[in-house]
């Protein structure tokens, strides 16, 4: 019966859309609302802003989860949140932070900045780009609905089977994880392909590969890692989905399965994933450090090749997460050596940053503070990584707080510091005004000190024998004081985060418009007005050197030399189909979570139908006429 009703509603819905038999007036009112403009946008800058809002929201969510974790661990045998609930918290914290915070916030910056840095008016696939955004939002919402409907995923962000199998994780918790990640994963893959195609095909005249700014380069390699890293996750998630929903037997030992398959698939994805989230941060650091030292990046070419090498090696080392699984000494040794080699290209980057500052004129803006704080922090995280790469050592460190300390050093000291530096640095380009520097400095110092307070000590918590993913410890373990210090640090980070939010609001209220180039920048994005006009470049620029804009400035030019005469600009038109298609996948995901295969299938059919509708669409975009461009440019300058 329910199926029948679903099907009828579905058909009515479809026919309404396809025939246009809906309430036109209401539709018109929708269409003239500013929200509609945002929902249907294909403008990469707006999409970037929405990624930022989404990622920021999930950061607060994931942060609150972290605070609850740390609160539970404040003293031994605390019974605030125990057992399965605690496992749900740590799972959601890890998953949210990696998939719905680190990646979207990086996508935010990549979307806003990469096209500007390569002198493009748009990305290669604006439609796909919008779809990627909505996939991320849909996946994030689907995952977090589990909090509302009870039963959040509880098997760790690594979701190892068998604890993630039906038998050991009753209810729908893991299904939210599987379908939420699957859906957001589609979006990530699309965005990855989009950035690759954009960077390969859409560069302006003279912007050869070896003149691309480092942030573009790292985004490029990071996208390549997405391209090859996400499919194993997709495959693995399919296997778990089939196992949980359709009775397949990949991992059930009794039916001949093997749980280690998932571990490999997860880490073949999982290790590249950590470089996916750190490489763009490296790129941001390179830009910020070079700008605020007023120096060209030291060893640009070796920076580029180090990035490529890190990306490539990143695929050969995944099994260092599995040293204790029992692969045998030979496999362990091979993966240990492979892992260690990554320290070499990373070291090259670190020293190149240091020598970029060497001999420069360093200005300590908030962005630069984050970049400067990043260097020692990331190096500490990196060297503990090399410690982890030795199997005999890892037998002791593995699944202890030592690992937790390692990855927060690289994830926060690397990725989050990078993201914050990027936001402080590029904020004026996107919004036309700076974030307040004074609040920014408070934000930095609190965050920085809070961070080290929380996590430095966790190395010792681990070496003193505390496993990770435990909701408590015993009073006689002697771990009380260090856990308490760690918790205090976490609260300090919370205050810092609130300060950032305050800063955003404050700076908006007291905004002072800035010119094209508030930081004395070096790359193309600083040659156009702030905020960047929707068509980016009135005339595509001609690039004549690395650090193209700096090069022109040194020659005494105020602007880039155009590569084309002023003319009408072709732009893609807004489209509501991305969100509609994603809605289909979202409904499908929700259907499968609730074990209703009919709804699951219908959602998919709807999504595919909408894709065919898209294929039939004649979408030629529109042109911005020359006089309008001139008007906008003048308006900005005045």
């Amino acid at each position: 019966m329910a199926t029948l009703v679903t099907i009828i509603v579905f058909i009515l819905f479809l026919s309404a859309i396809l025939t246009g038999g809906y309430n036109k007036e209401l539709m018109d009112r929708f269409r003239s609302h500013w929200l509609w403009d945002w929902i249907t946008t294909v403008d990469h800058k707006k999409i970037g802003i929405m990624y930022g809002i989404g990622g920021g929201f999930f950061f607060i969510l994931g942060g609150i989860e972290a605070l609850l974790i740390r609160t539970q661990l404040f003293y031994p045998n605390n019974d605030f949140i125990v057992g399965r609930a605690f496992n749900e918290l740590l799972t959601m914290h890890g998953t949210t932070m990696i998939f719905f915070v680190a990646m979207p916030l990086l996508f935010a910056l990549m979307n806003m900045i990469v096209p500007l840095q390569i002198g493009a008016r748009d990305v290669a696939f604006p439609f796909l780009n919008a779809m990627g955004l909505w996939f991320f939002i849909a996946g994030g919402i689907l995952m977090n609905l589990s909090w509302l409907f009870g039963n959040a995923p509880d098997a760790g962000w690594t979701n190892y089977v068998p604890i993630a199998a039906n038998e050991y994780s009753a209810g729908t918790g893991i299904d939210y994880y599987v379908l939420g990640l699957q859906i957001s994963g589609f979006g990530t893959l699309m965005s990855g392909i989009n950035f690759l195609a954009t960077i390969i095909n859409m560069r302006t005249e003279g912007m050869s590969f070896l003149r691309m700014p480092l942030f573009t380069w790292t985004s490029f390699i990071s996208s390549a890692l997405i391209l090859f890293g996400f499919p194993p996750l997709t495959a693995g998630l399919f296997l778990i989905m089939f196992e949980r929903l359709f009775g397949a037997n990949f991992f059930d030992v009794a039916a001949g399965g093997n749980p280690i398959i998932w571990e490999h698939l997860f880490w073949i994805f999982g290790h590249p994933e950590v470089y996916i989230v750190v490489l763009p941060a490296f790129g941001i650091m390179s830009e910020v450090i070079s700008t605020f030292s007023k120096k060209r990046l030291f060893g640009y070419t070796s920076m580029v090749f180090a990035t490529i090498l890190i990306g490539f090696l990143g695929f050969m080392v995944w099994a260092h997460h599995m040293f204790t699984v029992g692969m045998g000494p030979v496999a362990n040794s091979i993966f240990a050596i492979a892992t260690m080699t990554i320290a070499v290209p990373t070291g090259i980057k670190v020293f190149n940053w240091l020598f970029t500052m060497w001999g420069g004129k360093i200005r300590f803006t908030t962005a630069m503070l984050y970049a400067v704080g990043f260097i020692p922090t990331f190096v500490m995280g990196g060297v503990t990584g090399v410690m982890l790469s030795t199997p005999p050592g890892d037998y002791q460190y593995h699944d202890s707080y030592f690992v937790v300390a390692h990855f927060h050093y690289v994830l926060i000291g690397g990725t989050v510091f990078g993201i914050l530096a990027g936001f402080y640095y590029w904020w004026p380009k996107i919004f036309g005004y700076k974030l307040n520097e004074k609040l920014g400095k408070w934000n930095f110092w609190l965050f920085f000190i809070g961070f080290h307070l929380t996590f430095l000590i966790q190395h010792f918590i681990g070496l003193f024998g505390m496993p990770r993913r435990v909701f408590t410890y015993q009073p006689e373990d002697g771990l009380t004081l260090i856990n308490q210090i760690s918790t205090v640090g976490a609260y300090m980070m919370a205050v810092a985060t609130i300060l950032f939010v305050v800063n955003v609001i404050y700076s908006y209220r007291h905004r002072v418009p800035v010119g094209n180039d508030p930081w004395d920048g070096r790359t193309l994005e600083w040659s156009i007005p702030s905020p960047a006009p929707f068509y980016n470049f009135a005339q595509l620029p001609k690039v004549r050197a690395l650090d193209a804009f700096w090069h022109e400035k040194m020659k005494g030019n105020k602007e880039m030399e155009p590569a084309e005469p002023l003319g009408p600009i072709h732009m893609p038109s807004n489209n509501h189909l991305p969100i509609v298609i994603v809605l289909g996948f979202f409904i499908s995901g929700l259907g499968f979570v609730f074990r209703s295969n009919e709804v699951g299938a219908l959602g998919l059919i709807f999504a595919f139908l909408m894709m065919f509708v898209r294929s039939f669409e004649k979408d030629h975009g529109y042109h911005v006429e020359t006089d309008e461009v001139e008007k906008v440019e003048k308006g900005v300058k005045a």
């Binding site: 390969i200 095909n201 390549a224 090859f228 490999h264 050969m316 099994a319």
Partner: protein, 99 residues
């Protein structure tokens, strides 16, 4: 830059005949693979390497003739595809021998 300008070279290189010829080769390769397994013509230890080799050749033919992938003109595409193939092989080998 990948394909900055539309190509101007003649269409003559793209004859139906050329494609039919490579199709014929593919059919022959496939037939050899099937024969190697069903009939007793190669030493048993050689069968698996042989048929995998045949499959690899066939795939390259698909890429370079049917899919019009040109090594010189589409260098970036070729790089990406071969990287994908390499990582794919790594995945297969790992799952087969490490699980």
């Amino acid at each position: 830059m990948e394909q900055a300008k539309p190509q101007q070279e003649s269409q003559a290189t793209e004859s139906d005949a050329k494609h039919l010829a490579s199709f014929a080769v593919m059919i022959v390769l496939t037939a050899i693979a099937f024969a190697a397994v069903t009939m007793d013509i190669v030493p048993p230890a050689m069968v698996v390497p042989l048929i995998i080799g045949l499959a690899a050749i066939q795939v390259m033919m698909q890429f370079f003739t049917f899919m019009h992938l040109d090594f010189k003109k589409h260098r970036i595409t070729v790089t990406f595809i071969f990287t994908g193939l390499l990582f794919g092989v790594i995945c297969v080998v790992a799952l087969k021998y490490l699980v």
